[in-house]
Symmetry: C2
């Protein structure tokens, strides 16, 4: 029996949506009918799946009865969520909306997936969790401090166009007109990530909260600074871990060498977002080193494709866990 | 009596050398004769001081007898150092060479300057020290964790040209030929900074060691990750401090509002390297916040012009301390 599943993707024409459709095809997910949906100006646009064009339809006018699973890539109104739930669809939520459904990085905490709905964490959390979850048994983690240098593609095509536009203006010595970032992002780094509360940005709070949840360490102190970097694709994370005991570096390396989704780069070399991670389905970790002044500290450098790996691949893997298409 | 001092600058045609000559003029340093020197292919080039051109002369052929102070902006051989010392010149050393002379950020630890020779720390250490030194009395510092995103101008004109060249190649969809960084630096972040030992880069070791020395906290654990960012000018530092007691944020703000060389940006806004620091003579600090999960933690964001402020201005200020030209 070759069972197939009807799938709906809300936000199929976004960067993540495109990557998601590609991965559903590449991974031979048993898709029956795929419907591209949207709630906004994307209605009427064209998505592409298995070399066929799909006209994007309006979520509110679409009958979800036969849909097995919905990928949600953009914010929904409560009534829209209620309709999906009432139709009995499984749901993979990448919208970033908070909720009581479990937050899961498919290769880090699949055991947390219960029920038919799941929230996907920030792409940077997927990358962190795939590295830290296997280490959590080895290292008694006491604190995580990190700087997350995030790609502009987190803001979709608009972010990419803005960085390209600003860069071209500056290289041509034309006056800069800041657009969506409100400042110069080309050849610059921006420190804030979303509106702030007590000085912490929305993304920083989300990152810390989701990391705790995915690692099942609800009391772990996390200090995150999110930086908007002038990089098109790929997040770069400088991470410092404090542990309860001196770090056994060789044991850490052995552990990461068998960690799902993780590629370890040997000492002496190190990965970069553009050179290693972009377009790939692994998280790359390197520069593993014990603290210069503290043997109980482990410093490391992680890069990951925020769109393909951190968002789209995790979403497809979550769908595979939810529907279990290959029993 | 208007006393003047003869000055020699070894490396006057470098980016830092140019900024140094500008600042000596702007700050009305009582320069008698200024001589531009070099040991390498810069001999014969032309530097500019007070709107006059200076032909760069060879250090080894120049008589240092009447020189009161030498700025060293490039690596010297031991014999060259010995000559300067034998001539009785005061010395401000920006070459990064290790040594037993005190390492001083002029506005952070001027009291450490004894004798007639001084080492200037990395520009990022000047920025860090100007913010942390005034806080060290208020906060019982237990640990500093930071990510230093460094501008390509740390590598001089060659670094700037490489970033501009790569960026233009990529925007014009031409194949990239990595040059001095060995990798793509345009639209990318590089994790390593110099050759490594136990996984820690040369710059990371230097940064940690100099920060301890400048703060006079020789046991302070410092964890630094140096990142080469695709930024022309201006270092950006994401810093997390662990303290022995809960942080009084208002006291921190009051303290920084009177700290020499520091501009504090109010909550809700935040500084950037390009938008605030470049071309300025202050270090800008913002995003002051208590740890999300730890009241004994203070997170902050510091930006500073690495060439003008972190290197050249500090050098001139060190010269002012050494020669005390305005008694």
């Amino acid at each position: 029996m070759n069972r197939t599943f009807d799938i709906a993707v809300i936000g199929a024409t976004s960067l993540v949506g495109e990557a998601l459709l590609e991965l559903l095809d590449e991974r031979e997910f048993p898709v029956g009918k795929l419907t591209a949906l949207a709630c906004d100006e994307a209605i009427g646009q064209v998505a592409s799946f298995r070399e066929r064009n799909l006209r994007v339809r309006a979520l509110d006018a679409f009958d979800l009865t036969d849909v097995a699973l919905v990928f949600v890539l953009e914010p929904l109104a409560p009534a829209q969520r209620a309709r999906i739930e009432a139709a009995g669809c499984a749901l993979v939520d990448l919208s970033g909306a908070p909720g009581s459904t479990p937050c899961v990085a498919a290769q880090a905490n699949p055991q947390a997936l219960v029920g038919r709905q799941v929230r996907a964490p920030l792409p940077a959390v997927v990358a962190l969790a795939e590295v830290l979850a296997p280490l959590a048994g080895l290292l008694a983690l006491r604190r995580v401090t990190l700087t997350a240098c995030l790609a502009v593609s987190a803001h979709g095509r608009e972010g990419i166009e803005e960085l390209a536009r600003q860069t071209a203006q500056l290289l041509n010595a034309r006056p800069l007109e800041p657009g969506m970032f409100g400042r110069q992002i080309a050849f610059n780094l921006l420190a804030a990530s979303g509106a702030e509360e007590d000085g912490h940005g929305v993304d920083e709070r989300r990152l810390a909260g989701e990391l705790r949840e995915v690692l099942a360490l609800p009391e772990l102190p996390v200090a995150a600074t999110c930086v908007q970097a002038p990089v098109f694709f790929g997040d770069s994370l400088a991470v410092s871990l404090q542990c309860a005991a001196p770090v056994d570096l060789e044991a850490v390396e052995r552990c990461l060498d068998t960690a799902p989704g993780v590629e370890r780069i040997e000492a002496g070399d190190w990965p970069t977002a553009v050179g290693d991670a972009v377009g790939q389905e692994s998280v790359y970790v390197g520069r593993l080193r014990r603290g210069l002044h503290d043997p109980c500290q482990l410093d490391l450098w992680i890069v990951s494709d925020n769109v393909r790996k951190g968002a789209a691949l995790n979403a497809v893997q979550l769908a595979e866990l939810l529907l279990n298409p290959r029993p």
